[in-house]
């Protein structure tokens, strides 16, 4: 359960997020849509404190995950990020072998011995629907895989440390349609075990994969509701104009 309360976010003097509050239920897929620069990715990165890496930024408000404010001083950021996995826009496997890519999170978090790691790697690759394609070349470089496979590898890598939440920042935007539909299928299957939040600029994708959709514009959360309702009968005029493509 993620609960954002009155979040403001600034890049220097620019206010990127304006008083955003939102609740995300466990084991659902939530999609964020909106035009470029609307703050949807910034908001996503609030949940694993990825914005901390950017200099000269400032955040106000609270973000609770399972009741705990993740911006509290007592929070260990590394543990937070272990629990809140992330998949990025462009596939970013490490320049290591396929096996080591998936094992990485387990190693840096000191999770288990050699046999445990081997087992987890296999499980994660299976969960990411990649096992059959790579089981014979686990020691090959991750860069020998296709773009779509690389992205599924990145998903497997995130799954390996058993997070409860997975954030996806336009995970299919660099992929061809077939790889995209594989990723979407994967998201659909992972929904039973994980809370997934996905940023996408493909509205049909949001419609296909998500249970709830949030529409952002100019740093504001314009509308947040059930995806079916959003795409059949959005409440706000702005939302309607955006999703039907009559902007401006």
């Amino acid at each position: 359960m993620i609960e954002a309360k009155n979040i403001d976010f600034y890049y220097g003097n620019f206010q990127a997020l304006k008083n955003i509050s939102m609740k995300i239920e466990p084991k659902t897929v939530t999609a964020f849509i909106g035009p470029s620069g609307c703050g949807k990715s910034t908001f996503l990165r609030i949940f694993n404190r990825m914005n901390d890496l950017i200099k000269d930024t400032q955040m106000e408000g609270e973000c609770l995950i399972n009741g705990q404010n993740i911006y509290d001083k007592s929070i260990n950021i590394d543990n937070l990020r272990k629990d809140v996995g992330m998949v990025f826009q462009k596939p970013n496997p490490f320049p290591k072998s396929i096996f080591e890519n998936v094992a990485y999170g387990l190693r840096v978090n000191n999770m288990g011995d050699k046999s445990f790691i081997g087992q987890r790697v296999e499980e994660s690759l299976k969960d990411a629907a990649l096992w059959d394609e790579v089981k014979d070349k686990l020691n090959k470089s991750a860069y020998e895989l296709s773009g779509g496979q690389q992205q599924r590898l990145c998903i497997a890598r995130a799954l390996a440390v058993k997070p409860s939440i997975i954030l996806m920042d336009e995970p299919a935007s660099a992929l061809d349609p077939i790889s995209t539909s594989k990723i979407e299928e994967l998201i659909h299957n992972l929904k039973n075990q994980y809370t997934i939040v996905i940023v996408t600029h493909n509205m049909q994708q949001a419609a296909r994969v998500s249970d709830n959709t949030g529409f952002f514009m100019l740093g504001e959360l314009i509308e947040y509701s059930n995806t079916k309702k959003m795409f059949l009968n959005p409440e706000k005029e702005t939302t309607q104009n955006y999703i039907t493509g009559r902007f401006g």
Binding site: Q204, L232, N233, G245, R246
Partner: protein, 222 residues
């Protein structure tokens, strides 16, 4: 207006054209029935083919629009309602044709004017024409305020329909030789009643399109 909207406008124009044709069919049917004009009835039967082909065209264009433009929200609702409205309009066209054949058959030509008066058939025609024309107006203006008023008119149609049985029964009992005519008349009135239902459906589709509210099967509006 962008390309997508232009296509949608074309779709809308098409259904409006079909709508107007159906209204004119109905007006002709009314006149043909009241004046026993076989010529006009034959014309109606001819035009019915055009209504049918227009329905096919609207349906095909809707399918294409969905396939190519992936409409959502109000656009999706508009396309869906256009599809359903076209089905209802086609049905209404069929009824108009049915009425025309009733006249063409010439086996019930000299019905007592008093009986027609008593059955309130002209009034029924009037109410229905009013319903379908007003439905077109709210569709075109995209303004659903008067939708309830239109839907209420269906009650009037139903009232006339129900009364028709008693009146025809007493008429046929008095004039047994006109029994066939009586049966035919009840069929005609039945058609007009169905027509009223379809007009109601059309209004409901317009409400769905504009307000995304589903009025169907809610025990009809009170």
């Amino acid at each position: 207006m962008n390309h997508k909207e232009e296509e949608l406008k074309l779709l809308k124009d098409e259904i409006i054209q079909m709508w107007k044709l159906v209204i004119s069919q109905l007006e002709k049917a009314k006149i043909a029935f009241l004046t026993n004009d076989v010529e006009l009835a034959l014309e109606i039967a001819q035009t019915e083919k055009r209504v049918n082909s227009m329905e096919l065209k609207v349906e095909r264009n809707c399918e294409n629009y969905i396939a190519l433009y992936n409409p959502v929200a109000i656009d999706l609702r508009l396309v869906l309602s256009i599809m359903k409205i076209s089905i209802s309009l086609e049905r209404i066209g069929d009824y108009a044709e049915g009425i025309a054949h009733h006249i063409i058959d010439r086996d019930c030509n000299n019905i007592d004017n008093e009986l027609i008066e008593e059955l309130e058939i002209e009034k029924m025609f009037g109410v229905l024409l009013n319903m379908i024309t007003n439905a077109l107006v709210i569709f075109d203006l995209e303004e659903t305020k008067s939708s309830r008023k239109i839907l209420k008119k269906d009650k009037e149609v139903n009232r006339i329909y129900k009364m028709a049985f008693e009146r025809l029964e007493s008429y046929v009992l008095k004039n047994p030789k006109d029994a066939l005519c009586g049966l035919k008349l009840i069929l005609l009135i039945r058609k007009l009643e169905r027509f009223g239902d379809h007009s109601g459906n059309i209004v409901e589709e317009i409400v769905f399109f504009l307000d995304a509210k589903v009025l169907k099967h809610k025990g009809k509006l009170e």
